[in-house]
């Protein structure tokens, strides 16, 4: 598989009993693409992220990452996920959480990396405090550091801006821009139009389980995109 299809999704469907969350999604991303997916609640955005992360099995269809249909081997250790939940242990300190994740990703000499990430998300001075004592925003900032600990080549973000204060949102946006510049492939699901349009190079709208809009950011006229977006929001 060449660089033009680092991630290829074909005919992806997911049904929960009698509800169809995804109704045949096809998508292809090149290495270094940054796709921002918008869509109303219940459109299937989180389901799509979970299937790509191999946290959910699709009812039918395939997801190929870097040429493979499963995430075994090297690619699994290079995926990062930021979701609604922090994936952090409340009883461990910020430092211990990052040490745990660096251990399971077998990162050599992780101390410098952890120090650098804690500085980046502004939590270095609270590194030895338990996560349970952190505010929701601080936990989300630490979650960003956790997701970046393995220097992911594929970063999946599900509503990463929810609960973030202005500082943390800016830190995240800057980090995403830096990762994008380093040719990391990113899929972000958000309701934040400003942040999404500012950082991504491809923009999509998922509605009722279908990818109804997909364009390069450079081709998008903001006014017509907003009309398109609100049409789908209102339709749901």
């Amino acid at each position: 598989m060449d660089d033009t299809s680092f991630l290829r999704i074909q005919g992806l469907r997911k049904s929960y009993e009698d509800v169809d969350a995804l109704r045949g999604v096809d998508l292809s991303l090149a290495r270094g693409d940054f796709l921002c997916l918008f869509g109303p609640n219940g459109a299937g955005k989180t389901t799509l992220i979970k299937i790509v992360a191999d946290l959910l099995k699709p009812t039918s269809g395939t997801v190929e990452i870097s040429g493979g249909q499963n995430l075994d081997g090297g690619i699994r250790s290079r995926i990062g996920l930021i979701s609604h939940q922090t994936l952090l242990y409340d009883e461990l300190t910020a430092m211990e959480n990052l040490q745990f994740y660096s251990s399971i990703y077998k990162i050599p000499d992780p101390e410098d990396k952890i120090d650098s990430l804690l500085h980046t998300v502004g939590l270095h001075n609270r590194r030895d405090e338990r996560v349970s004592t952190f505010s929701a925003g601080m936990q989300q900032r630490l979650s960003i550091a956790r997701a970046l600990i393995n220097d992911p080549v594929l970063l999946l973000l599900d509503e990463p801006y929810s609960g973030l204060d202005q500082f943390a949102a800016t830190v995240l946006s800057n980090h995403l821009k830096e990762l994008h510049a380093r040719h990391r492939t990113i899929i972000m699901v958000t309701h934040n139009l400003t942040r999404g349009l500012e950082t991504a190079n491809r923009i999509g709208i998922l509605s009722e389980g279908r990818l109804v809009y997909l364009k390069d950011r450079a081709e998008i006229d903001l006014r017509s995109f907003e009309d398109h977006y609100f049409t789908h929001m209102e339709a749901v």
């Binding site: 699994r76 922090t86 242990y89 211990e96 399971i104």
Partner: protein
């Protein structure tokens, strides 16, 4: 094995800070011991097999409390997703969680068994080495099956109810082997007469350890 140790160390550190699993297991185990001892009469001479039953029912029922918590800390903040997207094989998670459960049982037994001897020790023979072997084999079987079922029920809403309902029918043979072996240890019979029960316990533990190790991939992915 290295990844299992990382998860094991993390779980032990969390338990050292929370202290809720082991303390609740010990407290509930001693409570059951007293209730059953009072029901039959404290100080009354008890049949070795009955004494054995009292001991293991107290330990096993209290151990279910610990099992229920095996995956609860992974469910908080969806930490389980952090493990699932990582390169950690589910079999390593199984080894780590089984070891944690084994270790927590060992700690609670280190408190409950002396209390049992304080209540009923006058009437039974105390063979420490065979009793230790029985404890280790029981823990292996119980922790393996318990971790497997704890993983299966973790995604359900009423997992604390479902876990014992699924677990006890499966471990009934293990309980029977343990009670028989311990009854004969308490009766002071020679090792050769009850070693078959210990072999059955070892076989049970090995079969379910292997089953859990091989099946845990499906358990975690389906959840």
């Amino acid at each position: 094995m290295g990844l299992s140790l990382v998860i094991l160390r993390k779980d032990l550190l969390i338990e050292i800070r929370r202290k809720d699993s082991v303390i609740s297991m010990i407290f509930f185990g001693i409570l059951l011991l007293f209730v059953m001892s009072m029901a039959i009469g404290i100080g009354r001479k008890v049949d070795p097999e009955l004494a054995s039953g009292i001991l293991w029912i107290s330990i096993l029922f209290s151990s279910v409390l610990g099992l229920g918590r095996t995956f609860s800390l992974e469910k908080t903040n969806r930490c389980i997703d952090g493990l699932l997207i990582s390169p950690v094989p589910p079999s390593s998670v199984f080894v780590a969680k089984t070891s944690v459960n084994f270790f927590f049982m060992l700690i609670s037994e280190a408190v409950i068994i002396p209390v049992f001897f304080a209540l009923h020790g006058d009437n039974i023979t105390i063979g420490l080495a065979p009793l230790l072997a029985t404890v280790l084999l029981l823990n292996l079987g119980f922790a393996s099956v318990g971790t497997l079922f704890s993983g299966i029920t973790a995604a359900t809403r009423r997992n604390e109810v479902l876990l014992p309902l699924l677990l006890f029918p499966v471990i009934t043979p293990l309980i029977a082997f343990t009670v028989k072996a311990t009854g004969e240890i308490f009766a002071g019979v020679p090792f050769g007469e009850y070693s078959a029960w210990l072999r059955l316990m070892a076989a049970f533990g090995l079969i379910f350890s292997c089953a859990g190790y091989l099946l845990f991939d499906y358990v975690m992915k389906e959840n």
